[in-house]
């Protein structure tokens, strides 16, 4: 009976200890492979094929230089940055416009268009793959970054519209009402009143789209496969990994991997709060 009165009972230490062990093991399972990749980028071939658990003998940056120039990682990263910049921008502008109108205006066909967008989440992209190739060819944008950007935007719209419509719906009506009475146009109300109010939602979904489009592998494989200089980073990495075997240049493979992983990790650590809250909330809606 005595224990009942005390809310903070002495914790069973064995259980608590085991919990910590489990958490630490999982954390190590994640950190060690990444750390190993990073360290391997400074090793030479002999060290990589020596003891996997050994530190590099010296800090060799030559593999980073080789990966950047000879293996074109610099080029791939630049391509990816350009594509993702424009596609995320396009996704956010067109997606938030559509979501806003669908969430806050009544007009015939509103529900229909909303479900038209949301239905896109139910279809596996593999179903569209073949025809998509020819659609992009027909509009004359096959093997171009512009084509890839438009396709990224189109395939990001279902989730973006779904998420942002829910967000715009939750915003109070009174502020928009006041703006309208003051004579602000619909367009002005959207850009100057509603967008600033929706900022938390917009930030979350922007990060979500940046990560998703940065990591896209299938669509570039179909749409910009022809010219190596058009490749994005995921294509480049996959190809370097096959070439590394042939050229026996493993350090530059790991340098290329590190170059890909580090920027994403930095962005993630900076924005982790928004990413996690945004994803959690978005997935539960």
């Amino acid at each position: 009976m005595a224990t009942r009165r005390r809310p903070s009972r002495p914790r069973p230490s064995l259980l608590s200890g085991l919990s910590h062990v489990a958490l630490i093991i999982w954390a190590l399972l994640i950190i060690l492979p990444l750390l190993w990749t990073f360290l391997a980028s400074f090793k030479n071939n002999a060290e990589i094929f020596g003891d996997a658990l050994q530190l590099p003998g010296a800090l060799r940056f030559d593999s980073w230089a080789r990966a950047w120039d000879k293996a074109h990682v610099g080029r791939y990263l630049l391509n990816t940055v350009i594509v993702v910049f424009f596609s995320t921008l396009g996704t956010m502008v067109s997606g938030s416009m559509a979501a806003y109108v669908l969430a806050r205006y009544r007009f015939p066909g509103n529900r229909l268009i909303y479900y038209f967008f949301v239905a896109g989440m139910a279809f596996p992209v593999f179903l569209a793959l073949g025809p998509l190739f020819f659609v992009v060819q027909q509009v004359g944008l096959l093997y171009t970054h512009a084509g890839l950007v438009l396709v990224y935007i189109a395939y990001s719209l279902p989730f973006t519209v779904f998420f942002l419509a829910a967000f715009f719906r939750s915003l109070p009506e009174s502020v928009a009402e006041a703006a309208r009475i003051d004579g602000a146009s619909h367009t002005r109300t959207f850009f100057q009143i509603m967008v600033p109010m929706a900022k938390p939602g917009l930030v979350s979904i922007t990060i979500f789209n940046v990560l998703g489009q940065w990591n896209q592998y299938l669509l570039p494989l179909v749409l910009v496969a022809r010219d190596e200089e058009d490749w994005v980073i995921t294509q480049g990495i996959a190809s370097i990994s096959t070439l590394a075997g042939a050229d026996a240049d493993w350090p530059s493979l790991f340098a290329a991997l590190s170059m890909t992983i580090l920027p994403v990790l930095v962005v993630y650590v900076i924005f982790q709060r928004q990413i996690q809250s945004g994803l959690g909330a978005g997935a539960l809606k």
Partner: protein, 304 residues
Amino acid sequence: MERLRKYGFIAGFLAVPVILYSVFVISPYIQAFQISLTDWDGYAANLNYVGLENFAKLFDDDAFWQALRNHGILLLVLPLATIVIALFFSFLINLGGGSNGAGMRGIWGSKFYRVVFFFPQVLAVAVVGVLFKAIYRPDEYGVVNGALIKLGLDPVGWLVEPGLALWAVIAVMIWQAVGFYVVLFSAGMAAIPKDYFEAAALDGAGRFRLFFSITLPLLRDTVQVGWVYLGIAAFDGFALIQVLAGDKGEPDGTTHVLPVQIWKTAFNYSEYGYASAMGVALFFLTVTFAVLTLRTTRRERIEY
């Protein structure tokens, strides 16, 4: 005038997204259903309809059945393992510290774990594939095998052993997925009122009871959402398998999955009709799974 302005505004805001989406998303999907009934090779100017021939061919295709078997294994293992691990960790991270009077708190270091566990989720699947290719190398240079040899054990052919390859792939999928579901379940747990836990703790409930009698029942909807997501992921696996195991389903067809076959059939063999039929099959499999899951697990919502 005001009405006109309103509809003009609506049309102006919807035009670009609707056109982009119709051209690049909806039209390919509709065409895929149409092309699945033809023997189109990507060049012929006219579509030659062959009825359900592609689907008949699919039923005789060993690779298709092999792929279905593999999706079946993925569908059983991936959601279950990921959800169990993620539930365990999110419980420890959010509530594992017991109650401290002001409410439940997470285990010591929970902020750190929450950040680290999510790492793999932000890495491209293709990059993860390349990374694990090095880790799984069958010879002594692989990270895992290097360590095994050091311990005096024999190296294991993780990706070359037919009985192991798919499991090695599934392990990577779980490795990458757990973080997301920890975040998802944490959001769900945060929504459960604190006094439920306090009341139960006051009544002498231990952590096992808190988990099984309070957390899990109240988290049911969230777990269901997670189950659907993971089930849909079990019908994918493209990037990981294509990079990690190659596109031939090696070893011995044990890593055959439909997405890789669709991609290969379309872009390597130019059999767009057949590839589209596989796509249609994949679509119906995914939808059937999602509908079945949502129907069989449906139940009254608990409002709190």
